[in-house]
Symmetry: C2
Subunit: 242 residues, 2 copies
Amino acid sequence: MAISDYFTRFLQLRDELSARDLELLREIPTTVRTYDSGEEVVSVGAHTRSCLMVRGLTGRVNRIVGKADARAITALHVPGDFVDLHAFVLKKLNHSVVAFGQVEVEFVEHADLVRMTESFPHLTRLFWMTTAIDAAIHRQWLFASSVLRSSAHLAHLLCEMYLRMEMVGVARDYTMTLPLLQRELADILGYSPIHINRAVRDLRDRKLVRWQAAEVEILSWHGLTQLARFDPTYIEVERRPR
Amino acid sequence: MAISDYFTRFLQLRDELSARDLELLREIPTTVRTYDSGEEVVSVGAHTRSCLMVRGLTGRVNRIVGKADARAITALHVPGDFVDLHAFVLKKLNHSVVAFGQVEVEFVEHADLVRMTESFPHLTRLFWMTTAIDAAIHRQWLFASSVLRSSAHLAHLLCEMYLRMEMVGVARDYTMTLPLLQRELADILGYSPIHINRAVRDLRDRKLVRWQAAEVEILSWHGLTQLARFDPTYIEVERRPR
DNA sequence: CGGCAAATTGACACATCTCAAAGCCTGTGG
DNA sequence: CCACAGGCTTTGAGATGTGTCAATTTGCCG
């Protein structure tokens, strides 16, 4: 198999791909796998391949040393995201990646990525950019967790996830599927599950969202972005030569 | 001028550099500049060069759109850090970089980095790794801000900063210079300055640190790391072929 | 229908914020 | 050498945000 169209689209939103670039992307061999909800897609430790999301939602889970139940989810990944591409240069990860709902991923061998970096600098820079966008999202999460209170913080997450999903075409009409339990939202935003529940209720009461199990409908994009002070520039959507 | 030894050391802690690699690093031209406390080293927006820390401490500052005083500091940088190398692939930054205390940096032109990526894949991967380590630190900050309460959170920052400074040789004997006001610590950790003050007092009361203006002495590394549940693996110090 | 996990609610405890005031340090000018 | 001003640190008290515990309700699935 070859690298999925989602990732190609992700790159094309940020830079022009030459015919040669596209051909090279198609030549990278991949292995497809599916996972059920809760399964570990990538485990803690050393790796010789990285995975690319094709379908569903995954998250990076950091657990605390020694203490069983303390965990944080430090990133979420939608189709088109190169989930653990950073493992290509880090070699070893201190977090795992788990599936939220049914998930399909493609694995790319690091050996093939080394070959790419040896001969194709433009694609290399674009892959590098991919990990830099992840880092920009991390900074935005830090910013949000520092500046926003619970409802606004949750609203920020919804804005980001909708925009990211809409950009690659897995969400539209201000509606998305977000298969996260309130307990998992708590691990993402750093609140207790009960407080997440109150934040969800608050967004409902303000008529900003309709939220039924995993189905989220944004009733007022304007209201939600305003509450969250959401500024999407960090998602880096401009097409520029890189 | 050529790239500073601190950065070379930073890389050598993570991978072996060949004679050719070292030579190439020396050939990259740089421009040195110094800044006074509070000055903006890098501004928000597009850039054609990135900067490398030589002396002092800098931080990345995210400001909120429209609202004057809400700001967060999403990263700190010590000598050897390639502060905004991510701008090489992102092209545009949504944060600024400011100096904490007197600072000396070297600027590297992106044009020179492009040349490097065109011909020297090993160094390219190491530069890429540098930004991936930044991202790993971001994730650890997210984790800390999600899991730790104020004193432990502050302790975590101290552990990290000491270790990073000790590794490149600008701190030793469990003593470091950290020219941050309590207001700035507040922007880093997401608390109010008053609460930071109480956290500092708590660490003092527990006999974990002596802290006088910018001089921090860690009285019990063991106690501090235990309180912070500090696990340094994320700083990625193992030497591996990359 | 019953059973389970998740979502929801309420009450209270704890963490953190805000406002206000006092203390401390340092540089400056008399 | 002293007095003062300004910025930072420290402290206190009350308000708000968030966590914990316990119980109830809901929704799904066997």
